[in-house]
Amino acid sequence: MPKISKKSPGKTILIAEDDPFLSKIIRNRLAEEGFAIDTATDGDETLKKLSTNTYALVTLDLIMPNKNGFEVLAELKKQKIKVPVLVFTNLAQSEDEREVMSLGAKGYYVKSDISIDELVKTVKQYV
């Protein structure tokens, strides 16, 4: 039974993640924390949803079908869609981090190196 948080009512978070298990864990946990959740499983879907709806935050995976996370970030920059993006990925190289940050992401986190608690804590910092 999800409980509604009083802290951030009505704030919708878009989870862009192609792995169904990870997507599910993040969705459940954030919902539990009181956020409204929307999900996308590839780059095109992510961009489509971002251009039609308004979100408080996007958690973005980098390796996704159709368009990868880098392309999504580049497209957002090009279309001037302003939304805070936190990148959660399993690509662990510092050059990936540099590229993502230069494309305007607010943060870069290697999923295998953080706990789900840390993920939630990070999201809350930006919403």
Partner: protein, 965 residues
């Protein structure tokens, strides 16, 4: 003995004197010619050159003078015109008194008195002007003029009318059909105070005022003239200011210089310059100076003949002096030659009398000069000759052979003492008698070849005939004296050529052969046996020298010497033959060895060539000057160069190597710094831009070629690593993606476990299992990261980007995190550093990997509650970071395998389960590629000290594609 040399000398002298004396070019004439040539020719050449030089100098000087003169005059004219312009401008100024009068005049056209008064006043005050008029600006008709008869005439098409409406305009002079109309004209507008144009004022300039400056012709001689010239359309118009008045307007044909090519060029270019023209009436030198203020130019000219007068005078002077010098030279030559030739003539006469054998008196010439010395020498020579003559006479008288002088008819002219002794006749009996009759001759039977073959007595040859034509020494003859037996003799004769009137004669010498024959027989008898022994090869004899020294003495000595030499030679040759034989044998052996060696060298060379050609790497060898010595086929293909085209040429010229970013690499300095200076191999990856635009990455090894310790060249090995690079890239990308794919499910497991454990509700055992699963998942994630790092380190794609870091401060930050990690095992972490900052150039990510590895191991393998000491020290060798733990330690055997992949000691595996066994391997790899070093000291169950040292310059920079995870 002959008197020939003496006769010949006299003859030659006589001949020479006669030739000199009567020849056409006598000494006197030659001296005359020499004098004239020496005295006159150089002075004529110098004079000619001086005249030429003078001419060109004069022309140069004149040009300079013209330039200065025309400049001066041009300045004066320009100033004067400026002055006139001021005068007329002041008169016509807007809203001035004249402008007011002009306005009044417009209002009252019939009342011109004010205007006329103004005109008169102006012309009176400014005598440079001679006429002043007002022109209606609309109709162009002269409304009022100081020369009233021009009033009513039309000026609408004149340039000064048109230009004068706009502002002040100066027309220097104007060419039209009517010559009297030429005038320098100022025209300018007259305006009222509202700026309305009332009239065009035209003021004509009195040319006397200009020519006042120009009429002086000083510096231009008598033929000098100055002109002001203008160029209108295709006509040249000139004004001859020097002869003003009256003003003239000469056309081009009247004044050739105005229509000349030079002046046309000067005018059309509007530039100054010298003018040098040949006209029918003479040559003119001039200078053209532009006068921009007048829209005209100034021309000054002078007749060239007048310019050159000083030089022409000089020329006449030189001709006069040359003739004078010729006359003096002739007189001098005559005087000197007569002084020299007189004594020579005397000498010639003297010589002639010596030659004719007369008694001579030697002239006493004082040796004051060369001729005197010559005369004295000839006197001395004559003395010597007379002395020699008496010597010869003495010799003839005392010689041991008979000498006869015979005339061409065979009659005896004279004879010597021995001749009388030999024949027994007196001088009286002998002189005048026939040589053939008085000295009776018959064939010597004993020596006659004819007598041996025939018993018929041989008839004596016709001696008189023989005397003239034959050779007497061919016959064995006998002299039959007045009394006694015939004496064998040898006759020789010589012709005494007749001199002057003296006819030819013969000298006949008869040698008495009796004594000589006796000697000869004795000597020959002694030699013959020796010669026959020599012919048999026996050289071991001793000849006795004849008791008396004669012509055989030398012969005997020679034979003895020859025999001795031959004996030595024979002995020596026998030894030599043996030696030659031995060395010949040796040579044959060496030759066959050499052939074999050559074959094997050729075989080795072809093997080496095949080997070099077949290997995959390009190979280039260069000498110490950087010239190419060798290049294999692979290198030919790789660099697209033919060996024969580059052999022996500088290496650096041919190959434009680049670094990864495309910057050119100076291979010469790389070779020198890395290989020649260090005498060690150098490995690098360079790029070669081929002409087909492809860029080859080349793994390059530069190795010194050493002969003993001496460096003799460098060999470069180039491996095309395009394929390897591609494979590396693909591999690296694969590993990167693969590790990503591995991490994703591991993350899911990890997070699910976290969620499960968060929700809780498990008993102790279940919670224990879940913790173990969590730990294993953690290890798997670490393992994936470590494997990815190993892959990057091993493939060499890792990048190193050092930057200066304050290491003490930086490690201090990390230590805070380590202390947090160490809490679980109640361990203390101490960090000791110097008070001064230690700044080192490092890649912080890599250094952190090293630090993390050592410290996490120390925490992992230290016992609970112990202290881990971290220490940072800088000395002259570098910066050392050491970490000392109090833990399980290891044996020296285990220590050996410490840095191998997946190595863990048995104890360690038990002690900690969360290690992948790759940490230290990764650390060692990082140290290797970044130029660091590690030492490990350890004692079982006591602890381990790990020290990492970097040199003072820090990490080596390296360009690669990847960083570590």
């Amino acid at each position: 003995m002959s008197i020939h040399p003496f006769t010949s000398l006299i003859d030659r002298l006589k001949h020479a004197i006669a030739h000199e004396h009567f020849g056409i070019l006598s000494i006197r004439n030659r001296l005359l010619i020499a004098f004239v040539v020496v005295a006159l020719v150089p002075s004529l050449v110098i004079s000619f050159n001086a005249i030429q030089f003078g001419k060109s100098s004069l022309l140069n000087e004149k040009s300079t003078q013209f330039f200065a003169l025309s400049n001066h005059k041009a300045g004066q004219i320009t100033d004067a015109i400026g002055n006139f312009k001021n005068q007329i401008s002041t008169f016509a100024q807007t809203s001035g008194p004249f402008a007011e009068d002009a306005e009044f005049f417009i209002a009252n056209p019939s009342s011109k008195s004010k205007i006329y008064r103004d005109f008169d006043q102006f012309l009176y005050n400014n005598p440079a002007f001679y006429e002043i008029s007002l022109i209606d600006p609309n109709s162009g008709i002269v409304s009022a003029s100081s020369t009233p008869e021009t009033e009513g005439s039309l000026r609408s098409d004149s340039i000064y009318f048109m230009e004068g409406k706009r502002g002040i305009f100066f027309d220097p002079f104007h060419f039209s059909a009517a010559p009297h109309d030429i005038a320098s004209t100022f025209s300018l507008p007259i305006r009222n105070r509202y700026g309305q144009l009332l009239f065009v004022l035209v003021a004509k300039l009195n040319h006397e005022s200009l020519s006042e400056f120009l009429s002086q012709n000083y510096g231009l001689g008598e033929t000098g003239i100055s002109y002001i010239v203008n160029h209108e359309g295709r006509y040249v118009v000139g004004m001859e200011l020097g002869i003003h008045p009256p003003l003239t307007a000469p056309s081009g044909s009247d004044h050739p210089i105005l229509d000349s090519k030079g002046i046309r060029n000067a005018l059309s270019n509007r530039r100054g310059g010298s003018v040098y023209e040949n006209f029918a009436h003479g040559t003119v030198l001039g200078y053209y100076q532009p006068l921009p203020a007048l829209n005209a130019g100034l021309l000054i000219e002078q007749d060239l003949h007048e310019v050159l007068i000083p030089i022409l005078d000089l020329e006449r002077l030189i001709v006069f002096f040359s003739l004078l010098a010729l006359a003096i030279a002739l007189i001098m030559a005559e005087l000197i030659s007569s002084r020299i030739s007189r004594p020579i003539t005397q000498l010639a006469q003297l010589s002639t009398s010596i030659a004719s054998g007369k008694n001579v008196s030697i002239p006493e010439a004082a040796p004051v000069d060369e001729v005197g010395i010559l005369t004295q020498s000839i006197g001395q020579m004559t003395d010597h000759l007379l002395g020699s003559l008496s010597d010869i006479r003495q010799i003839i008288e005392t010689m041991p052979d008979a000498l006869f002088i015979v005339d061409v008819d065979g009659a005896i002219v004279s004879a010597n003492s021995y001749a009388y002794r030999l024949t027994g006749y007196s001088r009286h009996e002998m002189e005048g008698s026939k040589f053939s009759r008085l000295v009776r001759l018959q064939e010597d039977q004993a020596y006659s070849l004819a007598s041996k073959t025939s018993k018929t007595p041989v008839v004596a040859p016709d001696f008189d005939m023989l005397l003239k034509t034959g050779t007497l020494s061919d016959f064995n003859l006998l002299c039959v004296p007045k009394k006694g037996v015939p004496i064998p003799i040898l006759l020789s004769k010589a012709l005494l050529p007749g001199r002057g009137r003296q006819p030819n004669r013969f000298v006949i010498i008869a040698q008495d052969l009796r004594r000589q024959r006796r000697y000869a027989k004795e000597r020959v008898d002694a030699i013959v046996p020796a010669l026959s022994r020599m012919s048999l090869g026996d050289f071991s004899f001793k000849l006795e020298l004849p008791p008396q020294n004669d012509e055989f003495t030398d012969l005997v000595a020679s034979i003895q010497l020859m025999a001795d030499n031959l004996r030595e030679l024979v002995e020596e040759n026998q030894n030599k033959a043996a030696e030659i034989f031995a060395s010949n044998l040796k040579l044959r052996k060496s030759h066959s060895t050499l052939l074999k060696t050559k074959e094997s060298i050729e075989a080795e060379k072809s093997k080496a060539d095949a080997l070099l050609g077949s290997i995959g790497e390009g190979i280039i060898a260069i000498d110490l000057r950087g010239h190419i010595l060798l290049m294999n086929q692979q290198a030919e293909r790789m660099f697209d160069r033919e060996t024969k085209a580059v052999l022996g040429t500088p290496f650096a010229e041919h190959f434009n190597f680049q670094d990864q970013s495309g910057k050119p690499i100076n291979m010469e300095s790389t070779i020198f710094d890395q290989v020649v200076a260090k005498k060690s191999q150098h490995f690098t990856t360079i790029y070669f831009a081929r002409s087909d635009a492809e860029r080859l990455p080349l793994a390059t090894t530069l190795s010194p070629i050493l002969q003993g310790k001496k460096l003799i060249g460098i060999i470069g090995t180039f491996r095309d690593i395009r394929r390897e690079t591609e494979i590396d890239k693909a591999k690296s990308e694969f590993v990167s993606l693969a590790s990503h794919q591995l991490r994703t499910p591991l993350t899911a497991v990890k997070w699910l476990l976290e969620e499960l454990m968060r929700k809780g509700g498990f008993n102790a055992r279940q919670l224990g299992y879940l913790t173990d699963i969590q730990s294993s998942t953690g290890r798997l994630i670490t393992l994936v990261n470590d494997l990815l790092n190993v892959s990057r380190l091993e493939s060499g794609v890792l990048t190193i980007q050092p930057k200066p870091i304050d290491l003490g401060k930086w490690i201090g930050e990390a230590v805070k995190e380590y202390r947090f990690m160490a809490k679980d095992k109640q361990q203390r972490i101490e960090f000791e550093k110097s008070t001064t900052a230690i700044v080192l150039s490092i890649d912080p990510e890599l250094y952190r990997q090293i630090l993390d590895n050592i410290v996490s191991n120390a925490i992992k393998y230290s016992f609970n509650g112990k202290t881990i000491a971290i220490k940072l020290v800088k000395n002259s060798h570098g910066v050392t970071l050491s970490v000392k733990d109090q833990g399980i330690g290891m044996t020296s055997n285990e220590k050996k395998s410490l840095f191998t992949k997946f190595f863990r000691t048995a104890e360690a595996a038990k002690f900690s389960t969360t290690s992948s066994g790759l940490g230290l391997y990764i650390m060692k790899k990082i140290l290797d590629i970044s130029g660091g070093a590690v030492t490990v000291e350890s004692e079982k169950n006591r602890g381990t000290l790990v020290s990492v040292t970097y040199p003072l310059h820090g990490m080596k920079e390296k360009k690669g594609a990847k960083t570590l995870v």
